[in-house]
């Protein structure tokens, strides 16, 4: 049996094992710490400059925020389903479709920036726009990194790069966990910027 054939059916591990590599989880927890500081600062600024925030939120297009949330949730679902199925083909397909959703998210986000900048808003307009541009761009950079990680794992999996099923699962889980972290941060960011007046 070739190495590639041996990778088709991955073991179903329901134990309390870490989903992915420990180093990746250290990285994810460090990222979450940074985002926690940023989100707490954003929540504080929102209460301190409530008028600016109310006026600022009204200038954002809610459809863009909702579309991005739905795209990121769908991307997370596709990635998780690809991992749950446990086959190489499902992983590559799930990651590829997740990447497409991620691309849609970036297109909408940068389209939103273009509209706002075209209307004369930028980082220096006021506190709301500083936080809006800074946090969402910082998050978008992480989404881009997540997409690169998903793409690398998908390409390597397709090419049969991983020598055994365990290493393939480790790489897939690590990439998936990072992507879900990006989604989790957006879930906290979305109501702060789009839902609450």
């Amino acid at each position: 049996m070739s190495a590639a054939e041996g990778l088709t059916d991955l073991p179903d591990t329901e134990s309390a094992a870490l989903p992915g590599d420990l180093a990746m989880w250290c990285f994810i927890l460090a990222e979450l710490l940074v985002f926690a500081l940023l989100l707490i600062a954003l929540a504080y600024a929102r209460s301190r400059w409530s008028m600016e925030f109310s006026a600022g939120v009204a200038t954002l297009h809610p459809l863009a925020g909702v579309s991005n949330t739905l795209l990121l949730l769908t991307a997370s679902y596709l990635v998780a389903r690809g991992l749950e199925c446990g086959t190489r083909r499902a992983l590559v397909r799930g990651f590829a479709l997740g990447l497409l959703c991620g691309l849609g998210y970036l297109l909408i986000k940068f389209g939103e920036y273009a509209v706002l900048i075209g209307e004369g808003y930028n980082l220096r307009t006021n506190t709301f726009y500083f936080f809006y541009f800074f946090t969402t761009f910082f998050h978008a950079m992480h989404a881009m990194l997540g997409m690169v990680i998903l793409a690398v794992v998908a390409v390597r999996t397709r090419a049969g790069y991983y020598p055994d099923a365990a290493r393939q699962k480790m790489a897939g889980d690590s990439a998936g966990s990072y992507w879900h972290m990006v989604d989790l941060v957006w879930l906290a960011l979305f109501p702060l910027l789009y839902l609450l007046p």
């Binding site: 329901e14 134990s15 309390a16 094992a17 870490l18 989903p19 989880w25 927890l29 979450l32 985002f35 926690a36 989100l39 707490i40 929540a43 504080y44 929102r46 209460s47 809610p62 909702v66 949330t69 739905l70 949730l73 769908t74 997370s76 679902y77 990635v79 998780a80 389903r81 991992l83 749950e84 889980d173 998936g176 966990s177 879900h180 972290m181 989604d183 989790l184 879930l187 906290a188 979305f190 109501p191 702060l192 789009y194 839902l195 609450l196 007046p197």
Partner: protein, 77 residues
């Protein structure tokens, strides 16, 4: 019964749309509703998509704690 990933995905989409619908009406309890909806969505994402429901307890507690901390700041500040 173990619910499928598709169920949680559809529920997450539905809760997102519910939050948006509530924000359009702006009831007095909007903040509480949005925080609770986000907490539920984050909990499902952590447990089902990240797979931490069957992962190490310390990691699940840390990531869930992160969500709780951020949402508490949003609600209390």
């Amino acid at each position: 019964m173990r619910l499928s990933l598709r169920f949680f995905w559809l529920a997450l989409l539905a809760l997102t749309l519910l939050g948006v619908a509530l924000s359009q009406r702006q009831p007095d309890w909007l903040m509480a509703a949005v925080v609770l909806l986000t907490l539920l969505k984050g909990h499902w994402l952590i447990d089902r998509f990240m797979g931490l429901a069957t992962g190490p307890l310390w990691l699940r507690a840390t990531v869930s704690g992160w969500l709780l901390l951020v949402l508490s700041a949003l609600a209390l500040l």
